[in-house]
Symmetry: none
Subunit: 442 residues, 2 copies
Amino acid sequence: MRAAILAVGTELLGTDRLDTNSLRLTESLERHGFDLVTKAVIGDGEAAIAGELERLLEMADVVLVSGGLGPTADDVTREAAAHALGRELVHDAEVLAELEAKFRAYGMDMPAVNRKQADVIAGAELIENRRGTAPGQRAEAPGGATLFLFPGVPVELEAMVETALEPWLAERSGGRGRQRGMLKIASLPESTVEERIAPAYGEFGREAISVLAKPGEVRIQFWASGGDDERRERLEAIARRLRELVGGAVFTDDPEADLAGVVGRLLAERGETVATAESCTGGWLGQRITSIAGSSAWYPGGVVCYSNPLKERLVGVPTELLAEHGAVSREVAHALAAGARERIGATYGLGITGVAGPGGGSEDKPVGTVHLALASPAAGAGEGSTSLDHSTALNHRSVRFPGDRDRVRWMSTQLALEMLRRHLLGIDAAPEAATGAEAGVA
Amino acid sequence: MRAAILAVGTELLGTDRLDTNSLRLTESLERHGFDLVTKAVIGDGEAAIAGELERLLEMADVVLVSGGLGPTADDVTREAAAHALGRELVHDAEVLAELEAKFRAYGMDMPAVNRKQADVIAGAELIENRRGTAPGQRAEAPGGATLFLFPGVPVELEAMVETALEPWLAERSGGRGRQRGMLKIASLPESTVEERIAPAYGEFGREAISVLAKPGEVRIQFWASGGDDERRERLEAIARRLRELVGGAVFTDDPEADLAGVVGRLLAERGETVATAESCTGGWLGQRITSIAGSSAWYPGGVVCYSNPLKERLVGVPTELLAEHGAVSREVAHALAAGARERIGATYGLGITGVAGPGGGSEDKPVGTVHLALASPAAGAGEGSTSLDHSTALNHRSVRFPGDRDRVRWMSTQLALEMLRRHLLGIDAAPEAATGAEAGVA
């Protein structure tokens, strides 16, 4: 079954607002196995709305419209829909009485402009509006498609989706819906993920799996249809196969989970902690960690040592080291990580130093160059780590990230967290970075 | 001139993502007097994209497309656009060489999948991609409309909008456009702003001015049309009047400016610096400050003292003070601010401690309770400040923010910066907080 969504409102064609109602509508459509083929936004012109509705009613089995049911002169969705369906608008005395009662309940007389909210498409079913004035409507088009009209106010639409849309969709899906699974990866570029999972396209179908990249994260999404059990089993099978193909790079199968939360759960399970020493990221790593509720159990804190003197004062990076190697160097990243671990007193220390740009780059250390280090107890040191003394082992990564200042900084926090995650799970110590672009990983 | 926007990508028809590129494109269209008549989202199917393009090219004078220029199998915008225009796709050896060079610059071989990014619509102009791989394209449709293809990655699109779209629009607008002005406020609730600016609605027209609230910030937007001079003069007149009405609460008239950058400029002008000691915000204030390029001139760094022992160890908050008043208290905020200023060695110190939630609240200190303090040289102390010793003066604010964990934390960083801004400008010392909601400020 094919669905289309239309949001009506000139304000949604401006620079400040996006149609977010479509996300709520999409959620219901997906759960019941309807396929959203397009969504569009159109201004408050009656002819334009009618034309768009005619087009969508030909393309889809169900068309969900939000907005334009208000009382003002520019609310013309009712008129446009009646026109597109070739029906009359009928003034409904019962609806009018209900509208007047709603206003009376608030001690007000109904303004005359609200009268038009009692206009109903001939033959349409009304949908009660528990949170506002204008009722929704459901009508059948001559070609067989179904049209729903909802108000644009999100809380009003939300209530109608639950009481009217969901039952209608459920009846038509016959218990067969479509469900999505997701695996998230922070340590491989999109093209590498694409190459590795290629066999799964053949096994499960090209349209069942898609790869999405954003800076520092690659998501593999996959879908299954059918009855509850069938769907679940298929999603599990796809996920299992994808994990075989990409390995330990997957950090979560929870679409909502942030890498910081995943790392936090691993630390909390072990009763371990991490401290941070940030230069170019300026506190962003700490911000991400502390955005996780309960992070105080595994994060005592950190330092933002943006200036060189502070690198010495707060975490004991030797002045000579800074002079000899420069602030952006493997040695200083090491000293930041080890210093954070020791001075703050945590199981692990993460140190980040880099050239975030736009200024500060050199031929030797161009913008985007970042050194990251993880200090850990020597006994638990992974492959390729350097033992500094009897108590501390160090892993190090040097990268060059593409993109602007905030992107370089964001990806640095992501890679730092991924280094720690891999260390905690005993996965190879040198993750690649998922840049979210095709190029750019040193 | 009529414009339409099409975002391509099956992921934009899901429940997680919205097409935000259209906002950036709309801004450019508005500035040059183009009228956006519709925008739509369509999945990654070649036939569907081609059909939609044909429709939009008939409706509008310019059609702006984002997405589907990547290297993967589902990136088919190039093919669809060629089809809609009745043109061939031509493999461009020069583009291919540039792509390969970009990968080489990062020490990688170009994956074979990226070859298709060198396919160009016959007769199209190429648009350089400075921040990624796929170039954009501009082509004319047989009916006279112009088609632009941009990548879906926002930073890549953004750069191309500046270098290619803006000049093209400017040339066609003949200097008559609609222009927007903006004033941003961090220290008044939306309803207060609305009340204060009410006279301006009468003077300039209700539709010329609008107020938009988001957490921690209220924006007043206003528009003027006409030729360059006419537009500029009218925008200046509106801005002048609005500033009269809302006073020193306006922190910038630059839509892109962040409060951290405004504070930074004030500090840099004075040759002064600020240090931070963050508890509940966990580094977010440092993150915001260091997101401003050049902030090292006025920000040496800070500490994230999430645990109580660290509050003592890193900035010398006395254990007795923590025991007596609790970590979330005026006294501890004072000690954090003063400690940051002294230990880190800056002109000013900002201290933040609060209950971000969802746990940790009490009857006495419910979730959302935040104490903020500003430590400054005693001679420069403002009204209502407390002199701690001969060298440090302290301002303090206690608030209760509404909303979830991240909102409480965000608004805390915003209010801390606003306290410093007001202090630097000698404006009254106790700003109200712009909550973006009507309630919630203690």
